[in-house]
């Protein structure tokens, strides 16, 4: 027990708070991301209903399709925690499966978004069309870019696992990636309700 404490005390990643710097750094980053997305959501809501020309949200948003993509992203969060639990108990067979499935669901969400954006452009809504187009594409586009970054991160971990370079000793790497992944999920929970569901 004393040796364990000594090991923790000498770990260069553990600071005076007793917490890992990398994990604290990720939480601080996520805090800043809250303010980033908060300003984008606030701008969208401030300009809601103030476009002088169409198309507007009620004419163009596809609730059933977006509900499906929101469900896919929500379930990817479950797959992410299953991946973390598997890596923590050094069950790398299931760790690899869950990591890949999480990335696959994330890629599915991005696919839905690409389809939605393309469809909207065909219907005449672009960044320049009106206030709705500008605020909608900037907000959901930044979120989609975050999801894409998360998919690349997950696939990097999956490739490391395939090469045998990811094990229980690296579970913090998976946990930090998971924190980021769950964050993009909770941002979508807010966006989905505020933009798509609220009339």
């Amino acid at each position: 027990m004393a040796a364990e404490h000594a090991a923790v005390a000498h770990d260069p990643n553990i600071g005076c708070t007793g917490l890992d710097h990398r994990k604290m750094g990720m939480w601080a980053f996520l805090g800043s991301e809250c303010m980033f997305f908060g300003s984008l959501i606030g701008t969208y809501l401030a300009y809601k209903g103030k476009s002088i020309n169409g198309p507007g949200p009620h004419e163009i948003l596809n609730i059933p399709l977006t509900s499906l993509s929101a469900f896919v992203l929500l379930m990817s969060s479950l797959l992410m925690v299953l991946a973390l639990a598997a890596v923590q108990r050094n069950d790398m067979k299931w760790g690899k499966i869950w990591l890949f499935m999480t990335a696959l669901f994330g890629a599915g969400f991005v696919g839905f978004q690409i389809f939605e954006f393309t469809h909207f452009v065909h219907l005449g809504l672009t960044l320049q069309t009106n206030l709705f187009g500008s605020t909608f594409f900037v907000l959901t586009g930044f979120h989609g870019a975050h999801v894409t970054g998360g998919v690349i991160w997950l696939l990097s971990l999956w490739v490391l696992a395939l090469r045998g370079r990811l094990g229980a000793q690296d579970s913090l790497k998976v946990e930090i990636c998971g924190l980021y992944w769950h964050f993009v999920d909770i941002v979508w929970i807010a966006i989905f309700t505020l933009i798509y569901l609220i009339p």
């Binding site: 923790v8 553990i14 708070t17 007793g18 917490l19 890992d20 994990k23 604290m24 939480w27 601080a28 996520l30 805090g31 800043s32 809250c34 303010m35 997305f37 908060g38 300003s39 959501i41 606030g42 809501l45 401030a46 300009y47 209903g49 103030k50 609730i63 509900s67 929101a70 469900f71 929500l74 379930m75 969060s77 479950l78 992410m80 925690v81 299953l82 973390l84 639990a85 598997a86 923590q88 108990r89 069950d91 299931w94 579970s171 913090l172 946990e175 998971g178 924190l179 769950h182 964050f183 999920d185 909770i186 929970i189 807010a190 989905f192 309700t193 505020l194 569901l197 609220i198 009339p199």
Partner: protein
């Protein structure tokens, strides 16, 4: 899936511990149900607009809280991490409300 899936995930870092796989699955089921109710409520005729908006906001906050508490492990982790996240989150919500108030745009109240 082997039986070890049911075992509690070990605490892996100072001040940190995680939920069990069963808890994760239960939380995911609740999240799915809340989402289904949210979407279903849109298609129920006769719900007053204010009640619908309030329901959607409450369910959204519940889903947000469940993911942060269980999937992101804040419920089990050091309180300092909660402060690091909730502090900026409060600022973000203040930013949203301030921008909306400045532009006279409201969700629940009539537009100015």
């Amino acid at each position: 899936m082997d039986s070890s899936h049911a075992a509690p995930a070990a605490a892996h870092a100072p001040g940190g511990g995680h939920a069990t796989v069963q808890t994760y699955i239960r939380v995911a089921v609740v999240l799915g149900l809340l989402t289904a109710i949210e979407i279903g409520a849109l298609y129920v005729p006769g719900i007053p607009s204010h009640a619908l908006v309030a329901l959607l906001l409450v369910f959204s906050v519940l889903k947000f809280g469940l993911v942060v508490a269980f999937f992101m492990h804040l419920r089990y982790d050091n309180k300092l991490l909660t402060v690091l996240f909730v502090g900026p989150l409060i600022i973000a919500m203040a930013i949203i409300l301030a921008i909306m108030a400045l532009f006279g745009a409201y969700i629940l109240l009539a537009r100015g």
